[in-house]
C-alpha cells in the first residue's frame, strides 16, 4: 500500500473533524461547543480542499464560520448555563444514544469497506476548469434544481420570520414559566 500525501492529509483533517465533533458533546460550556463545531466543520472544509474540491472547501469554511458565530450567540441567549460553570448534565437516554451512534458507525463502515465501488479515478481537472463546469451545470442542465433551492431558501426565510416574530398583543406577556 502506498501512503500518499493526500491520504495523510485526509487522515489528519478527518481525525480533526471527528475529534472536534466529539468535543461538541463533551464540554459543559455551550460557547465551546459552538466553537468546537466550527473547528469540526472547518476541518471538513480543509478535507474538501484536500479532495481537490476547491470551491466547495472554501464555501464550506466561509459558510460555517458565519453559521457557527450565529450559533454561539444563540447559545449564550438560550442556554441556562452557557458558560458551563455549574457543570449541568443536559443529556438524556445516554446509553441508547451511544448504542445508536456506535451501531450506525459500524453499519456505515461495513458498507464503505465491503461494497465494490468500481473503478477509482484519482486524476481531477484543474480548479478553474472544475468551477467553469460547475457553473455551466448549475445554469444549464441542473438549473431547475438550482432555482428550486433558491425558492426553498426564500420560503424558509419567510417561514422563519413568521415563526420568530412577536405576535401582536403579546408584548407584555413574555417568558411564561413552564407549566
Amino acid at each position: 500500500m502506498i501512503i500518499s500525501a493526500q491520504l495523510i492529509f485526509i487522515t489528519f483533517f478527518g481525525l480533526a473533524a471527528v475529534w472536534f465533533g466529539i468535543v461538541v458533546f463533551r464540554t459543559y460550556s455551550m460557547v465551546r461547543s459552538a466553537i468546537a463545531l466550527l473547528f469540526s466543520q472547518t476541518a471538513l472544509g480543509a478535507l474538501f480542499l484536500t479532495l481537490q474540491a476547491e470551491f466547495l472547501g472554501v464555501l464550506q469554511i466561509m459558510m460555517m464560520a458565519t453559521e457557527m458565530s450565529v450559533m454561539a450567540i444563540f447559545m449564550v441567549m438560550f442556554m441556562m448555563d452557557p458558560g458551563g460553570l455549574g457543570k449541568m448534565d443536559m443529556t438524556h437516554q445516554k446509553r441508547l444514544s451511544i448504542i445508536a451512534g456506535i451501531v450506525t458507525f459500524i453499519a456505515a463502515v461495513a458498507v464503505a469497506v465491503y461494497i465494490d465501488w468500481g473503478p477509482i479515478t484519482t486524476v481531477n481537472d484543474a480548479p478553474t476548469i472544475q468551477i467553469k463546469a460547475l457553473g455551466i451545470e448549475l445554469l444549464g442542465r441542473s438549473m431547475l434544481v438550482f432555482e428550486t433551492a433558491g425558492i426553498t431558501i426564500l420560503t424558509a426565510m419567510i417561514a422563519a420570520i413568521a415563526v420568530a416574530i412577536q405576535p401582536k398583543g403579546n408584548i407584555n406577556n413574555n417568558h411564561k414559566e413552564p407549566k
Binding site: 473533524a17 458533546f25 466543520q41 451545470e137
Partner: protein, 103 residues
C-alpha cells in the same frame, strides 16, 4: 481499491455516528441542531468523496453538495426561529419540558 475513498467514507461514518449520538442524547434544541449539522456534514463528505473518486468528470456531484449546504443553512434558520418562538412562549428551549408535544 482506493484507500483514500474508504478513509473518507470511514470518517463520514464516524461523523454520522457522533451526530446521531448528539441528536438523540441532548435535551437542548440548539444542541440537537448541532447533532443534525454533524449528520449533514457526514452526507457532504460522502458526496464530495464519491464525486472525487468515482465521477470527477460529472459536475452534478458538486451541485448536490451545494443543495445539502443549502439544507444545512435552512435547518439552522428554521430551527433558530422555532427556538425563539419556544423561548418566548415557554422561557426555555429544553426539550424535556416540551411534554405538551406528546399530547
Amino acid at each position: 481499491m482506493g484507500i483514500e475513498l474508504i478513509m473518507s467514507l470511514i470518517f463520514a461514518a464516524a461523523l454520522l455516528g457522533v451526530g446521531i449520538y448528539g441528536a438523540l442524547s441532548q435535551t437542548n434544541l440548539v444542541m440537537i441542531m448541532m447533532g443534525i449539522e454533524l449528520i449533514l456534514a457526514a452526507a457532504l463528505l460522502n458526496m464530495v468523496a464519491f464525486w472525487k473518486y468515482l465521477h470527477p468528470d460529472n459536475p452534478a456531484g458538486q451541485m448536490y453538495v451545494l443543495i445539502v449546504m443549502t439544507v444545512m443553512a435552512l435547518e439552522m434558520a428554521v430551527g433558530f426561529a422555532l427556538a425563539i418562538a419556544r423561548f418566548r412562549s415557554r422561557g426555555s428551549v429544553e426539550m424535556e419540558e416540551a411534554v405538551e408535544l406528546k399530547e
